[in-house]
């Protein structure tokens, strides 16, 4: 579905990443972890077409750019639009917006402005704004970075639920190992070397989850990356 081949990205004179190869199939959830500045977010922006690779290519098979949605680290809601109007930004006003508001658990907040919502609620509005566009691939750029622990877990569960329901694949960028393991079927470690760990079928209390977290942590620590 998405093939990233020999991808390199330079920021000015600095090489951020090079020779990156990843293949992402439909309904595949992958997490990308790595230290700050390793190019995780730049890779997402390149996939979405907001930035260009310096070398290599990103090949979309069976999907177009319009099938790729992105949830930014900041909610990026327009303060002058209500929840409903933010979700419908640039879309036909007759779309079933209520369905997506209910899906992200914001029933009753339709006519509120972003300033009247909590951080978690605002990020849920941003999620609904992506979902209504029915993406086949959802890019997540540290979407829970600014949230408290419980709100973070609740949003993670909501994202997984709706992605399963709608048959989307997720590409999550994060520097939280636990989040990466919980959300991803594969965790992809960014750095001088790229390494993949299979983490499919985890839940937060399973032994495999703890082992996967440990494995990713040891790998990153071994590189001095964390």
């Amino acid at each position: 579905m998405i093939k990233i081949e020999r991808a390199s990205f330079d920021y000015g004179p600095t090489n951020v990443f090079k020779d990156l190869n990843i293949k992402i199939e439909q309904t595949d959830n992958i997490s990308i972890v790595g230290h700050s500045g390793c190019g995780k977010t730049s890779l997402l922006y390149c996939i979405k077409g907001l930035k260009e690779l310096s070398e290599g290519s990103i090949i979309l098979e069976g999907i177009t750019q319009k099938d790729i949605g992105i949830l930014f680290q900041e909610d990026r809601l327009l303060p002058w639009k209500t929840v409903k109007k933010n979700i419908l930004l640039g879309l036909d006003k007759d779309l079933p917006v209520q369905k997506y508001i209910d899906m992200v658990g914001l029933k009753g907040h339709e006519d509120k402005y972003p300033s009247q919502l909590s951080g978690g609620e605002r990020q849920r509005v941003a999620l609904a704004r992506v979902l209504i566009r029915q993406p086949k691939v959802l890019l997540l750029d540290e979407p829970t970075a600014n949230l408290d622990e419980l709100t973070k877990e609740s949003l993670q569960d909501s994202i997984l639920e709706v992605s399963n329901e709608l048959g989307m694949s997720l590409i999550l960028v994060t520097h939280h190992i636990e989040e990466a393991v919980y959300m991803g079927d594969r965790v992809f470690m960014f750095g001088d070397e790229f390494k993949e760990i299979d983490t499919k079928g985890n839940d937060r209390l399973s032994e495999k989850y703890f082992n996967s977290v440990r494995e990713v942590r040891l790998e990153l620590k071994g590189r001095g990356d964390e």
């Binding site: 907001l50 639009k81 930004l89 640039g90 402005y113 300033s115 919502l117 909590s118």
Partner: protein, 251 residues
């Protein structure tokens, strides 16, 4: 408006006025109650209202014309560096010039009718409005630019959904600051080649040594100012309802 504050404000104005009127005992400084009585007499006669409407028409036309020109130019200057570099020096050149100094030129170029007066008023508002709008557009958060790209927004959608709401606060700030100055400029311009307008009414009353009527004109130009300020506030509230909501304290 809170009645208590209104009463206190009125006392702050009226007490010194009574003291000055009593101290000078001259017709040029009449007692406030005599002015108030004259205001009602003039209102009953109705003539003063014709002058007020003329001034209102000129100042509203001036505001409208200024915004019609300043909004598109300010937006383009904020978006395009080349346009900004071309127009900014011209605006900086004209901005400090007292606009009333251009009245003789405008009277010759645009005639002695309303047009020259409307243009003078619009110039007072146009220059600060362009600069404020340009800065607001240039300061739009880059996150919204990425958002518009990520969501494939059309140019029209970017304009209507992102740029226009971003510049609204600047437009209203400019109007609040400029309305007072534009009324002063209008007052002066209405002393030339016209027999209508509150400026003409005040200065004609002075020449005719009718001081009570002159003060009536001053009261009406003040009321015109209050009307404009309140109208701007009301329109601002209607156009920016998101500014009125109680923000959430939850993180």
């Amino acid at each position: 408006m809170n009645k208590g504050y209104f009463l206190k404000g009125a006392l702050i104005l009226l007490i010194p006025w009574y003291i000055i009127a009593f101290s000078f005992s001259m017709p040029i400084v009449p007692y406030p109650h005599l002015v108030l009585k004259e205001v009602f007499v003039e209102l009953m006669r109705g003539e003063v209202l014709i002058h007020v409407f003329y001034s209102l028409y000129r100042v509203l036309s001036g505001i409208l014309l200024a915004l019609l020109l300043a909004i598109p130019l300010g937006i383009v200057m904020g978006l395009k560096d080349s346009t900004n570099k071309l127009f900014t020096p011209i605006i900086y050149l004209f901005q400090p010039v007292p606009k009333i100094a251009l009245l003789p030129i405008f009277l010759v170029l645009f005639g002695i009718g309303d047009l020259s007066k409307i243009l003078i008023v619009s110039m007072v508002i146009f220059f600060p409005a362009v600069l404020m709008i340009k800065d607001s557009v240039a300061e739009i958060n880059y996150h919204y630019v990425e958002l518009s790209k990520a969501y494939n927004l059309t140019k029209r959608e970017v304009l209507v959904d992102i740029i226009f709401p971003s510049i609204l606060p600047s437009i209203f700030s400019t109007l609040r600051i400029s309305v007072g100055i534009s009324l002063s400029v209008l007052f002066f311009s209405e002393n030339f080649a016209t027999e209508y307008g509150i400026g003409y009414y005040i200065m004609n009353s002075w020449i005719m040594v009718n001081y009570l009527q002159m003060y009536t004109g001053i009261v009406f130009i003040s009321l015109l100012g209050i009307f404009l300020y309140r109208s701007i506030e009301i329109i601002e509230r209607k156009m920016m309802p998101w500014k009125l909501v109680e923000p959430s304290n939850r993180s």
